[in-house]
């Protein structure tokens, strides 16, 4: 195992230990509390909150992936090329519009809870996935595309057997960026009553308890690092399989 892999494993173990038995970490956080306030967040199960946080991130990222990749496929087909500028501007608007503003606007329509958060994260996540999917699909070499056509593949077969597999590593970069952004942005969902780790941070802010703020932040940070590294490892694997990077000769 490399040093990086060792550190990631340690990080994962510490994170799981903390989530399952948070009280055993109380001595670590005690110095950050004042006036005998609790050192460990106990208004809800940290495991439940973390799973809910991850679930919201996952659903929003998956939805953004489906829509953005779908759009990218359409606009890279001959019949869809004219929609490229339009879809570009839509996904750019999604990115520039602050998620907080989306939340504020979505609440009157969707009410408090998970839904407005999902909408905000979804919109915010579209652009990186869309741009990377386009880059991936148009990065497939002309020769390879022509060969696929010349061999007698139908449009769908070319997409499924050649273009998507070759574009996948680049697409995955966009998905990774979006997932990590969604993971940290999801914390603001707590302001509209979505069950996310933002809850822990906000509890800390309102009661002036630095230990809570730090706990919430550290869990989100650890998750972000693990997810980012995991997806990067997957990208490397796919790139190698696609013959895009050098591997040691057999």
């Amino acid at each position: 195992m490399t040093a990086g892999a060792v550190m990631r494993t340690v990080l994962l173990l510490v994170l799981v230990a903390f989530l399952v038995t948070p009280q055993s970490f109380a001595p670590v956080f005690e110095p950050l509390t004042r006036y005998g306030a609790p050192a460990i967040y106990a208004q809800g199960s940290l495991v439940d909150i973390t799973l809910s946080h991850l679930g919201i991130t996952l659903v929003a990222t998956l939805a953004a992936t489906l829509v953005a990749v779908g759009l990218a496929i359409v606009v890279t087909r001959p019949f869809g090329a004219e929609f490229l500028p339009l879809s570009r501007s839509i996904s750019h608007i999604g990115q520039t519009f602050p998620p907080v503003a989306v939340l504020a606007m979505a609440v009157p329509v969707l009410g408090f809870g998970t839904e407005p958060t999902l909408v905000a994260l979804f919109l915010y996540g579209l652009l990186p996935i869309f741009e990377n999917a386009i880059a991936g699909l148009s990065g497939v070499s002309r020769e390879v595309r022509e060969a696929a056509r010349g061999m007698g593949m139908t449009g769908w077969q070319r997409l499924a057997r050649v273009e998507l597999p070759l574009a996948l590593p680049v697409m995955l970069t966009g998905i990774r960026v979006s997932a990590v952004i969604a993971l940290s942005t999801a914390t603001i969902g707590s302001t509209v009553a979505a069950k996310t780790l933002g809850e822990v941070i906000i509890a800390g802010l309102t009661t002036n308890n630095t230990a809570f703020v730090l706990q919430g932040g550290l869990i989100v940070g650890a998750l972000a690092i693990l997810i980012n590294d995991g997806l990067m490892a997957l990208e490397r694997l796919l790139r190698r399989r696609n013959g895009l990077a050098d591997t040691t000769a057999r």
């Binding site: 070499s141 020769e143 390879v144 022509e146 060969a147 696929a148 056509r149 010349g150 061999m151 007698g152 593949m153 139908t154 077969q157 050649v162 597999p165 070759l166 399989r241 696609n242 013959g243 895009l244 000769a249 057999r250």
Partner: protein, 311 residues
Amino acid sequence: MIEIDALTRVYGTTAVVDNVSLTVPRGEICVVVGTSGSGKTTLLRMINRLVEPSSGSVRIGGEDTRGFVAYQLRRRIGYVIQGNGLFPHHTVGQNIATVPSLLNWDKARIRARVDELLTLFQLDPEDYRDRMPRQLSGGQQQRIGVARALAAEPEILLMDEPFGALDPVIRSKAQADLLAIQRRFGTTIMLVTHDMTEAMALGTRIAVMDAGKLLQYAPPAEIISRPATVFVDALIGSGDRPFRMLALQKVRDHVEPGAAAGLPIDEEASLREAYAECLWSGRDAVPVVRDGALVGRITLARLTALAARPQ
């Protein structure tokens, strides 16, 4: 058989292929030569409808290609793309199996075919089947490109500069392989090349193109002895003509009885090789052998006569 009838392709206002008609009889090799941009690739790609003709028609085996669904037509026609275009994410075996698996051949049949082709191209299936294209040399990649085009046993094979990136030794090896395979399966081939020597070595007929027009379509000997235009003449290279004539024929057909001194030459050698041997060793005649046994000789006088323009 490929029948091309008044085929034209216009881009903007330019006819990139201009009213080309030619027929490649079944089992023959038509080699298309011409300068860069003369429309060779476009002509080839109109046959499998990767480019749709502006006007004119193509028939393969007597059937108009417009009667086919384009992708089904392409599965019947082998295509070797300029610059190989192997799928980098598929193994060598999967690459070769592309068309058979599109045609839903069963697994055992596909596997047998892949191994047969690899063996045919002198690549050990055990070693090469599961390699990725990047783990092959350029020459091996090109051979896999040809194997992929041949996989579904097409009656027609289109090849766009298939041996472009090969060194001269591997190149003549690849040409010999292609000829052997072509004879074995009776494939009708249309092949594009820049190399006149390759064209002479492979073509039963040579099509010379310039600026979209077909200038001449004739067997190699006729192209050399009666070039239709100055352009065709220049393409052959007037200084090379006698040698190209000699290169077209084999010693086998011109053996005379009698003896000669020195190292013998095999009857399968070309007249050009025999001529070179005479000049280089300063002999007036060279002994000829078949399977190592003496069968006669070939004389410098005969070779000189054969190198002259046919009357």
